[in-house]
């Protein structure tokens, strides 16, 4: 019996260290008779328990524990005592959701908000005793200094946490800090996981850079441990309660001036100019823009960057320009034309397998097309930081992507059965097999999507040690990008089923949940070792095929 506490609007899942479990106080089932019913409503119950550190097992004092009856009566709150104990009395006969939180600790709900299921306890006695666990935060502390050992103050430190979601791997910014006078920094509140750390850049201000006669030097960016960029960096693996030291030694390097003029932005528009690297990370370097004249002036160490200009007018229309730039000296007189907003119209064509007039008429009916292609998205594949995606929206009787930033994208199309994606093209580019590259001066060629309805059905079971098992199933067409792979999660004892698969050759793979959750399966290199053990199947139009797949992964 699950009592999901979503009914309680006063709970916020974003708070630090909330642990939720639900239990039921139900003595009535056992000892009450109908004649006692009037007394029932006044009968109250007590609930006590302990909150412990899930790493050390030690009790945690002064944890805020909140007991919220599902029947809407008053929630009770208390702090645990020095032995981590809490006690509530006078609780009504009701499902009780219990939360625990304390700064510096995480609950299972914090750690896995999307896949969290409240623990259920069924009580048969008047008093319930409960043990709640909280995971202590991890901490990274360190020091930034020159090769001579002089501390470097005011150096920005960034922490990125690896997030694998739907087969994409991203680095999410999880914290920022600045070194103190003595070069030290400290980053608290980190969940278990893999992290990258970057220090720098620490550059002189623009006034100093523009002053004549001053050495123009600053500290560039360095990833832990001593790597020049994200690709070369070694992630730090943190577990609950762990304290890790990460020190940096930064070298002085020349800082160059980059200046020029923005042209073509509408009057009154807000305009920003920034440097990013190839991972999409914005470099915290000084840059000044004069909104009146469009002149900009920045300073940055040598390296290869993308100079980005973004403008938006009062209606929110974006204009954007990306200029790849290799800086090895002062760069002056750049003209950065702020292009018109990049828009890509999306045309969806339905090609029914039957040529009956009704089918054809229905296919030309706009709402039918909108239902068939329920969502069309562009997901950035070159930005490694955070998640960048665009959704096609209705515009002028059709769909279109608006205000796109230049970059490399994968197309993601969700269809409604019986429709499947037969092709998706922009000009000569087959977007099932290639990524879409949008440059600054992109022409507004439409994305042409063709859907068909004669797809195949694929059913089967996952096998582990010869037994039917639960887990994730992934199907990918042989010739297509893995960004188009489809996945499904099945419970033990049930089978999987994919409908409306385009005819063709497929690889079918199965994984246990833990392996799959950490698998960047949209990346061909990562999936390659698993593909050799994949099942292969060829699907014909309208066919229903069955296949059993051996489960891969580490879990038992």
């Amino acid at each position: 019996m699950h009592s999901v506490n979503a009914k309680r609007p006063s709970f916020s899942s974003t708070a630090v260290g909330i642990l939720v479990c639900a239990l039921t106080l139900a003595p009535a089932l056992f000892c009450q008779t109908a004649t006692d019913a009037p007394a029932l409503s006044t009968r109250t119950h007590s609930l006590s328990g302990t909150v412990v550190n899930s790493v050390t097992g030690e009790p945690i004092r002064r944890v805020m524990v909140q007991a919220a009856p599902a029947n809407g009566t008053q929630m009770q709150s208390a702090l645990t005592d020095s032995e981590g104990r809490f006690e509530f009395s006078g609780l009504p006969e009701s499902d009780i959701s219990v939360l625990a939180h304390k700064p510096g600790y995480f609950s299972t709900a914090d750690l896995n908000p999307s896949d969290f299921q409240p623990e259920t306890v069924h009580l048969v006695d008047d008093t319930a005793t409960l043990t709640l666990q909280l995971l202590p935060e991890a901490i990274i502390a360190g020091h930034v200094a020159t090769a001579k050992g002089d501390p470097i103050e005011d150096t920005p430190i960034r922490v990125f946490r690896e997030v694998i979601s739907n087969g994409y791997r991203r680095w999410e910014v999880k914290g920022q800090a600045t070194t103190e006078e003595d070069g030290h920094f400290r980053m608290v509140g980190l969940m278990p996981g893999r992290y990258l750390l970057a220090a720098g850049p620490n550059l002189p201000n623009l006034r100093a850079v523009r002053s004549r006669g001053v050495r123009k030097e600053g500290f560039g960016t360095m990833f832990h441990p001593g790597a020049p960029d994200m690709d070369a960096a070694t992630p730090v693996a943190l577990t609950g309660g762990q304290q890790v030291t990460a020190d940096f030694v930064l070298k002085l390097e020349p800082v160059f001036q980059v200046s020029g003029t923005l042209v073509g932005f509408p009057p009154g528009a807000g305009v920003g100019v920034q440097f990013t690297n190839k991972y999409g990370e914005v470099i915290p370097s000084p840059i000044d823009v004069d909104m009146q004249t469009g002149k900009f002036h920045g300073a940055i160490p040598g390296g290869s960057y993308i100079l980005q200009a973004r403008g938006s007018d009062s209606t929110g229309r974006l204009s954007a320009t990306d200029l790849p730039l290799i800086v090895s000296g002062d760069v002056e007189g750049i003209t950065l034309p702020l292009g018109a907003p990049i828009t890509i119209p999306v045309n969806v064509e339905l090609r029914p397998s039957s040529n009956s007039p009704e089918q054809l008429a229905a296919a030309n009916f706009l709402p039918a097309r909108e239902v068939a292609a329920s969502s069309v998205r562009l997901i950035s594949t070159d930005v490694h930081i955070d998640n960048v995606e665009y959704q096609a929206e209705k515009a002028n009787g059709g769909l279109a992507f608006r205000n796109l930033a230049p970059g490399r994208y994968s197309v993601d199309i969700s269809t409604t059965a019986p429709w499947y994606v037969r092709s998706a093209r922009i000009g000569a580019t087959d977007l099932l097999r290639e990524d879409l590259v949008i440059g600054s001066g992109h022409r507004a060629e439409p994305l042409e999507i063709v859907l068909r309805d004669d797809g195949a059905r694929l059913k089967g079971n996952i096998l582990a040690d010869g037994q039917s098992a639960g887990g994730w199933v992934l199907v990918c067409a042989d010739q297509e990008l893995l960004t188009h792979a489809r996945t499904t999660l099945i419970a033990p004892g049930s089978g999987f089923e994919f409908v409306s698969l385009a005819p063709g050759e497929y690889k079918v793979l199965a994984f246990d949940r833990e392996t799959f959750a950490a698998l960047e399966f949209r990346n061909a290199e990562v999936l390659a070792p698993y593909l050799s053990k994949a099942a292969t199947v060829t699907l014909h139009p309208g066919e229903e095929a069955t296949i059993n797949v051996e489960r891969q992964g580490t879990a038992k």
Partner: protein, 569 residues
Amino acid sequence: MKRWSLAWWIVVLATALSSHAQKVKSAVVTGRITGTVVHAGTGRPLAGIDVSISPAEQRDLVTETTTGPDGRFAFENLARGKFSLIAQGSGFSEQAYQQHAPYSTAIAVGPGLASENLIFQLVPDGSISGSVQDEENETVRNGDVLLFSRDGATGRMELRARNTLEDQGRYHFGHLFPGTYFVAVSAQPWYAADPPGAQNSPKLSMEGENTADQRSDAPSPSSGDAALDVAYRVTFYADAVDAESATPIQLHAGERATADVTLRAVPAVHLTVRNASTDPNQPGSVGVQQRVFDRELIPIQGRTQPGPSGSLVVGGIPPGHVVVNLRTYSGKEWKNQARELDVASDSEIDTSENSTGAVYIRGTVHSPQPGPFPPGTYVRFFNRDTHEGFGAPVSDTGKFEFSQNLSSTSVYEVAVIHPRRAIVEKITASGAKVVGRTLTFPRNGTVDLTLTLLPGAGRIDGTVLREGKGVSQAMVVLVPQSLQGNADLFRRDQSDSDGTFSLYQVIPGRYTVVAIENGWNLDWQNPDVLRPYLEHGQSVEVPGSGTYKISVPAQASNGVPAADTQAQN
């Protein structure tokens, strides 16, 4: 002849580099600035210090060097003129030569001027850091830490810096010069909750409250017991809840002081604001602030919830003296008002009772410049001590009018802003008290003001002399004839290496200029301290916007020490 030619070429080069050089056509480019950077505490020469100079009137033309092992630095081939001299290094914040912030001594370069073998005393950075804990020795992760310092001369308390605890329960104030400091912490217990019976509804943002604050993410329980209905008072180092009991931190040059603070939860006070709004869809808002050192207003992170019939209830207020800023809605219009009150226990404010009333202020601004006032012209009244202020737009014809609800009577200065602050030369008022160039408003009634703007301010260029020679590093004070209520007529400067100084934006009138050697610790705003120096000062009449040249005899400080002295051993 050839030598002359070379010098001439250097002049040409210098002229090309510096437009300033055009003003000194006869410059002979042989000037040097040399010296030794020493530790202000020990006198030991400091190596590896970055020293830079720039022409005093062209600060972006910077020339840089680094001191050698003997602490020496040298700048050669300088044109005649004044240069500001700045140094910084590891453990030493950027500071100007003989700095008495914001003043310093520029080095004059030219024939017969002493610009060599300077001793540049560099004051090492100090710091104050500490941890903030609660009474159970647990880290307080969220809160504000304020650093105040007492001006060595005037004794005035100034807010120097503000930090957040940033999840670490620790704070750090770096790059501090020697002086007297105080640390205050403002925070709320992370577990604090309103008592049972309070309405369970989403938190409203409070004016002055950072709604992005982490606390707003925390669950707001609708119930709790007295142990959770608590707040922290603003707490000063070391564990004092009133400013008088705060312990001063005497920070010496280069000292790294530690000041830990313990916060103790006290029962919170609830403030009910009646009649905050007549429309449930337009709830009013309440901001609660507290004065620290009778000056700085800092927000209290209270919890505001709507109560019955248009009222608001603010929980989580520590008992004490508070300033309550109200924004109320009467069905037709929004109204801002401020109340100042003591809340020792649960209290109420009824916004419909005009307990203090409002003062109606109207007036005219007269400008010496013809034509209408540009749009955006604004008249602003502000209190120099509390930094409180209010004001109103000025029409193109110079008229302004507004009502103001004053939390207390205090003394206000006046400024007219556009495009820069125009200087108000004369104030006449009916209904308000004018002392010098300040105003004291009544709590209610009507005040009529006439503000006359200055046609132009004057400038005084002068030289501090003793026995005919220029005196460096003297404190120069321009003292108005009437000392009362004229704080904004005073001007100060520090004499440069040749004894010269400049006083800008001088409002026409009669003044006395005094130059005091080693005078930087004198309470120059205190008439009693200043009076003995006036008879040896130089009187000057500034009739208008011209530049007036004077010379002022140097006086020695009469040795009345200030509370604490800058490290200058």
